[in-house]
């Protein structure tokens, strides 16, 4: 309520008690108001008291009070009544003005209520009229002072500021000490202010501020400050406002608040933060207002779109008053400014500082943490930290920052706010991720575990469980001792996310890791759980294969085979089929191997051969065949063993394995003396690749085996092939020679002789021995013919023929002995000696002529002996030559032995030398007396 209204009511209250008979009370003339110069008026307090009293009186007799119109008519009548004393007329006019005011005020209220419009010019028209009549007619009356005052008010209400000011001035002129002086100055100041006459306004406000009543001073200073502000006289404005603020409890709170606001505004225009700092330095007594001023200054900067300065002002406030309640608001202001500035980095930097500024133990926390602001702070910091951490994290993910910063923020957040709220849970999850990205896997795993195990939140449970597994898996690569924890993580996943479709995959992975670590039994258990608990899933199908593998690694090969077959029956993924088939193969093979190791070779072979039947082309089948063959050999079933090896060769024809098998088989046959088998295998080996390295050796060996098998035709065929296919081989002569032997054995002597001749004629290194043998063979052919010639019939002719053949034979023997081979030489010499002995015997046993007389026969016998004995001498000569050659060369072979034997018979005195072996014939010891054995 304005002071003017109060004064008017007081006046009205005074009227209500006027002694006007039964009519409405007539406003009383103030005591002493009898036309004499007015005494100084009552104080405003007295006036208020009187006004209240009158108002109460009016309210207490409403029913008996006459209506205002009736009173006005009576007073008008009284005024116009001729006998009315002139001295009473000011009083009557004052009364009339008051009554009119009441009616017009009521009308105005109704107009405000929309009942009837009232133009400004019509407002208080009658009341103003009575007052104007009063001051016009009775300017010297005591009531004129009241009339001027009320006119000042009513003009003001009608918007007639100039007239209002003039009225107030009249009051001051008439009564400089009027109790309404301060109010009038104030009104005049406002009028001047509104009229833009700031200097005049300053004068009025200063009047009040300097000498007015205390209750007016604050307002006056406030107004004065405004004036100075508008005059851009900021120091004076600040000083005026400061006096308001420094006024202690004398200033109303709302005024102080408004003063703060306008002070901030002033400081804003005067120099902003610098001005504020200067002001506060100059006036330490208002330090308590510092936070609010910083806040307001920041707000003003913000409102005026001066965002950096706003940030600066807020930040300065926070720095200067870290424990101030306004800090939170300033921080919000900073955030708002940064938001508009789109300075995310700045905002985040600021948020990152909050834990230190407002966290537990900080000055701010000590001041407000336990109070209502604590929750506000928590909300602010929670959001700020969270956003900052997420921001830093995302930047780090883009390679624009250090992950460690985000980790620190996450950690701070979680230490402060925990992970039980939705936001905290999210932060904990992100924190785990950041740890993982930072390579701090140990902490990441633990963080993921905490997220997964969070009893309050479950949004990331499955993902955290899964990522924990991933992290531990990475760690376990370098540190196998973590396998137990990794396995536990898998188990936790399954426990925490039983309905997850990923459970089978996790179980499969768990099993795989255990299997890889060699913890086969445990992995088997996991796979079996998977297969039983999640049948029909692709992982269960894979688990079936793994189960088989586990059995295999545990040495349960029969179970492994069964499991692998079962897995194959479930339609495993295409990529696993070969491995499962292999597993079946190896399981069968291993069953055989185990039995083999126990010495149960026949039983072992059952599995090996089963494997061969089912998977004949597999590598294992090849080995199984080989092992089965070995077992059969160990069982003494060499021939069957060779058969298996030959089968192996057939199955893997052309391969190295086939070659090896055939070689081994041939050796078995050789050991058995089965030269036919040897030849067969080697021929097969040769046929596999006639151009292979070593093919010549194989063919030659095959031929020799045929030879030893007694298959002369086969031997001849192979040897002919050798001579044909390997013309440059140094063994061609040997092949021809041996072919000749074979053919000779077949009775094809002529062909044999041809081969011997070819062999003899074959040149080349390394062939001389065969050539020598061929020469011996040719000699033998001649000697055979030589022996067949019997000395009977035409003795001379027969003898010539025999001698011719002997000469031819000796020729070949000589050629043979001409080559430096001791065995050939000794044989040649032996055969030569033997031939001469035969010749001697043939001559001695030759047919005797029938027509000889006894004397002639005796003479004939003598001649025969004479001719025969030189032959024996020649034989002895060959033998002696032979043994000398043998002695010289240091050889001793059957031909040498034979020659020694012949010499012992032919020249016993020189060669028969019985040797004496020594046996040991020990006399046993004498038995001890009384010893056993009796």
């Amino acid at each position: 309520m304005r002071w003017g209204t109060l004064v008017l009511l007081a006046a009205l209250a005074g009227c209500a008690g006027a002694p006007v008979g039964s009519g409405p009370p007539v406003p009383a003339v103030p005591p002493g108001d009898t036309g004499a110069p007015a005494e100084p008026g009552p104080s405003l307090e007295d006036a208020t008291w009187q006004a209240r009293a009158r108002l109460e009186a009016l309210r207490s007799v409403p029913s008996r009070a006459p209506r205002a119109g009736e009173l006005i008519r009576r007073y008008e009548a009284l005024l116009s009544r001729p006998g009315t004393p002139e001295a009473r007329k000011p009083e009557i006019l004052l009364r009339l003005a008051e009554l009119a005011y009441r009616e017009e005020e009521a009308a105005l209220q109704r107009a405000y209520a929309g009942e009837e419009p009232v133009s400004p010019a019509e407002r208080y028209r009658r009341a103003v009229g009575y007052y104007e009549r009063l001051v016009g007619a009775y300017p010297g009356s005591p009531q004129a002072l009241t009339a001027y005052y009320n006119l000042g008010y009513l003009y003001g209400e009608r918007g007639e500021w100039r007239r209002s000011a003039e009225a107030y001035r009249q009051v001051l002129a008439r009564d400089p000490r009027t109790p309404y002086g301060d109010e009038i100055h104030m009104r005049l100041g406002e009028a001047a202010f509104d009229a833009g006459d700031l200097d005049e306004a300053v004068a009025h406000y200063r009047a009040v501020a300097e000498g007015g009543k205390p209750e007016y001073r604050a307002s006056a200073l406030y107004k004065l400050g405004w004036c100075y502000f508008n005059l851009e006289r900021y120091p004076e404005a600040v000083e005026a406002f400061h006096r308001v603020l420094a006024g202690g409890g004398g200033s109303p709170e709302d005024l102080r608040r408004e003063t703060l606001e306008v002070m901030a505004k002033t400081l804003l225009d005067w120099g902003g933060l610098r001005a504020l700092r200067g002001y506060l330095e100059d006036h330490p007594e208002v330090r308590a207002q510092g936070p609010a001023l910083h806040l307001l200054l920041g707000d003003l900067f913000l409102e005026s779109s001066r965002y950096p300065e706003a940030v600066e002002a807020y930040a300065a406030g926070v720095e200067a008053y870290p424990a101030a309640a306004e800090c939170l608001a300033m921080e919000r202001g900073i955030m708002a400014a940064y938001r508009v500035l789109r300075d995310v980095e700045g905002a985040m930097e600021r948020r990152e500082s909050w834990p230190a500024r407002y966290g537990p133990g900080s000055p701010w926390d000590r001041a407000h943490g336990a109070g209502p602001l604590g929750a506000e702070r928590d909300a602010l910091v929670e959001e700020g930290l969270r956003l900052a951490a997420l921001y830093r994290h995302s930047r780090a993910q883009r390679g624009q920052g250090e992950l460690g910063r985000a980790l620190g923020l996450y950690r701070t957040y979680l230490e402060w706010f925990g992970d039980r709220t939705e936001e905290g849970y999210e932060v904990a999850y992100r924190y785990a991720g950041a740890l993982r990205e930072a390579g701090r896997l140990r902490e990441a795993a633990d963080a993921y575990r905490r997220v997964a195990e969070n009893p309050s939140q479950a949004g990331h449970r499955e993902d955290a469980s899964y990522r924990r597994i991933q992290v531990l898996a990475r760690m376990a690569r370098d540190d196998p001792s973590l396998l137990d924890e990794l396995v536990a993580a898998h188990e936790d996943y399954v426990r925490l996310n039983p309905g997850s479709p990923e459970v089978p995959r996790v179980l499969l992975d768990e099993g795989d890791r255990l299997l890889e670590a060699g913890r086969v039994e445990e992995s088997l258990g996991v796979y079996q759980r998977l297969a039983a608990g999640h049948p029909g899933t692709p992982e269960a199908v894979r688990a079936a294969g793994r189960i088989a593998r586990c059995h295999f690694r545990l040495g349960a090969y029969a179970e492994a085979e069964a499991a692998a077959r079962a897995a194959l029956g479930k339609g495993p993924p295409a990529d696993e089929v070969p491995a499962l088939r292999d597993l079946v193969v190896y399981s069968v093979f291993k069953q055989g191997e185990v039995l083999e190791a126990r010495g149960l070779r026949a039983e072992a072979n059952r599995h090996f051969l089963r494997l061969v039947e089912e998977f004949p082309r597999s590598e294992a089948a090849r080995i199984a065949l080989y092992r089965a063959a070995e077992n059969l050999r160990a069982l003494g079933r060499e021939r069957e063993a060779a058969g298996l090896l030959e089968r192996l060769a057939r199955l893997h024809r052309g391969s190295d394995h086939a070659r090896q098998a055939l070689l081994l088989s041939s050796r078995i046959h050789r050991g058995l003396g089965d030269w036919e088998g040897v030849a067969r295998d080697l021929e097969e080996l040769y046929r596999m690749d006639p151009g292979a390295r070593g093919a010549a050796d194989v063919l030659m060996e095959a031929a020799l085996a045929r030879e030893r098998a007694g298959d002369r035709a086969g031997a001849a065929r192979l040897l002919a092939a050798f001579a044909r296919e390997f013309r440059d081989d140094p063994r061609v002569a040997e092949a021809l020679y041996r072919e000749g032997l074979a053919l000779e054995g077949l009775g094809r002597t002529a062909e044999a002789e041809g081969r011997y001749l070819r062999a003899w004629e074959t040149g080349g290194d390394g062939s001389d021995h065969a050539r020598a043998r061929a020469a011996l063979a040719l000699a033998a052919l001649r000697l055979r013919a030589f022996r067949r010639v019997e000395l009977r019939g035409d003795l001379a002719e027969r003898l010539r023929e025999k001698e011719r053949l002997l000469e031819e034979a000796l020729g070949w023997l000589t050629r043979a002995a001409g080559l430096p081979y001791a065995d050939v030489v000794t044989e040649a010499l032996y055969r030569a000696g033997e031939a001469f002995e035969h010749m001697k015997e043939a001559i001695l046993r030759s047919e005797r002529p029938r027509d000889l007389s006894p004397a002639e026969l005796e003479e004939y016998e003598f001649l025969l002996e004479e001719r025969a004995f030189p032959l024996e001498e020649r034989a002895v000569g060959f033998y002696r030559k032979g043994v000398r050659a043998a002695r010289r060369w240091g050889v001793y072979d059957p031909w040498v032995a034979r020659m020694y034997a012949r010499l012992e018979d032919l020249v016993p005195w020189a060669y028969r030398r019985p040797e004496e072996p020594a046996v040991v014939s020990e006399v046993p010891a004498l038995p001890a007396p009384g010893g056993g054995g009796g």
Binding site: Y892, V919, V920, S921, E922, P927, G933
Partner: protein, 368 residues
């Protein structure tokens, strides 16, 4: 460690104790003083003999020998004293002293199985088998010898190269019911006397009586080999070697059997093993030479013969074989002749070797 104070106290006590009238502390337990009159009585031979027996039983052979010597010095006809002394000296490694004592036992008592056996064995070991044979033949000049004496004489006859005499003596033992104990000896005598069948029977009895004695199996093998039963012989030798893998006679004779069968390789291996087991015996080296010669390794054969002669220069078979090897196979007539001559020194009655010497000289001429 004793503290100085206590040590001084102890020394003081000892000093006080030393003042008790005794000159010095006793050094050991003193023998009980003899009673009056006993100390002058001379020791009895029986007592000394008892001491000797006790010492022998305790293995104190020197003490036993001394006591026995004292006993028989007191009473030279105390046979048991001589016996104990003989045993003790044998144990002490004094075969000559032992032999002498046993001879006295036999002289005084007429002999017993132990004395005969010990006496004969010691004499043979000392190269006095002939002496022993002569001495023992004097024991019972008028009557047939006891089985023990006959067996000992038979054994000595075998050792001195009298298989006929040995057989005669041992056949008597065989007939006396001591066949089992002396079967091996009898068998060897029969074999050396040219009765392989009888030897085989005795050998059977020997292996029956002592199946773990390799000598019995070797004898049986020798008998079989002498009868041409080479497979059986080989089996018996292998039984002997199964019992004692280093049994030299079985090794050599088995190798000779292999040689007879033309199994030169096995024969060589066995001979080499035998030579390794008993490098001081010539038989294995000689026979190894034969194997090597048969395999045409003449120089190695020559070396083997030389090795046999190195071991035993008087081993005639090696000299003969060496000469043959040199002459016939190595063409070294001079050295062959030298070997033949040495051989003839050992076996001057050999009818063939002188002709070989001539032949060698002739071939040498022919070669020129």
């Amino acid at each position: 460690m004793m503290r100085p104070g206590i040590a001084l106290l102890v020394l003081a006590c000892l000093a006080v104790a030393g003042c008790g009238g005794r000159a010095a502390a006793p050094r050991g337990p003193e023998p009980p003083r003899p009673l009056l009159g006993e100390a002058t009585r001379p020791a009895l031979p029986a007592e000394r003999l008892g001491e000797a027996r006790a010492a022998l039983a305790r293995g104190e052979y020197a003490r036993a020998a001394d006591a026995a010597r004292e006993a028989r010095a007191l009473n030279p006809s105390l046979v048991e004293a001589w016996r104990v002394e003989a045993r003790a000296r044998q144990a002490l490694g004094d075969p000559a002293g032992s032999l002498e004592a046993w001879e006295r036992v036999i002289s005084l008592s007429g002999g017993d199985p132990e004395a005969f056996r010990a006496y004969a064995a010691l004499a043979a070991g000392l190269g006095r088998a002939e002496q022993a044979r002569a001495r023992l033949r004097e024991v019972r000049p008028d009557g047939p010898p006891s089985p023990a004496l006959a067996a000992t004489l038979g054994w000595l006859a075998l050792r001195t190269g009298r298989p006929g005499e040995a057989r005669e003596l041992l056949e008597a033992v065989w007939a006396s019911g001591e066949a089992g104990r002396y079967a091996a000896l009898v068998g060897r005598a029969r074999l050396l006397a040219g009765d392989p069948a009888g030897a085989a029977a005795a050998a059977d009895r020997a292996v029956e009586a002592r199946p773990r004695d390799p000598a019995g199996w070797t004898l049986r093998g020798d008998a079989a080999r002498a009868r041409g039963l080479l497979a059986a012989a080989r089996s018996d030798y292998e039984r002997a070697l199964a019992i004692d893998p280093g049994h030299y006679p079985a090794l050599v004779n088995l190798a000779v059997t292999h040689l007879d069968q033309g199994d030169l390789e096995r024969a060589e291996a066995r001979f080499r093993r035998a030579a390794e087991v008993r490098p001081g015996r010539p038989e294995a080296w000689n026979d190894l030479g034969l194997v090597l010669r048969s395999r045409g390794r003449f120089r190695e054969a020559r070396d083997a013969y030389l090795r046999a002669l190195e071991v035993d220069p008087s081993f005639a078979p090696a000299l003969r074989n060496l000469g043959i090897c040199l002459e016939k196979y190595l063409g070294d007539a001079d050295r062959a002749v030298e070997a033949y001559r040495r051989y003839l020194e050992l076996r001057p009655g050999d009818p063939e070797v002188p002709r070989w010497i001539k032949a060698a000289a002739r071939r040498k001429e022919e070669a020129r």
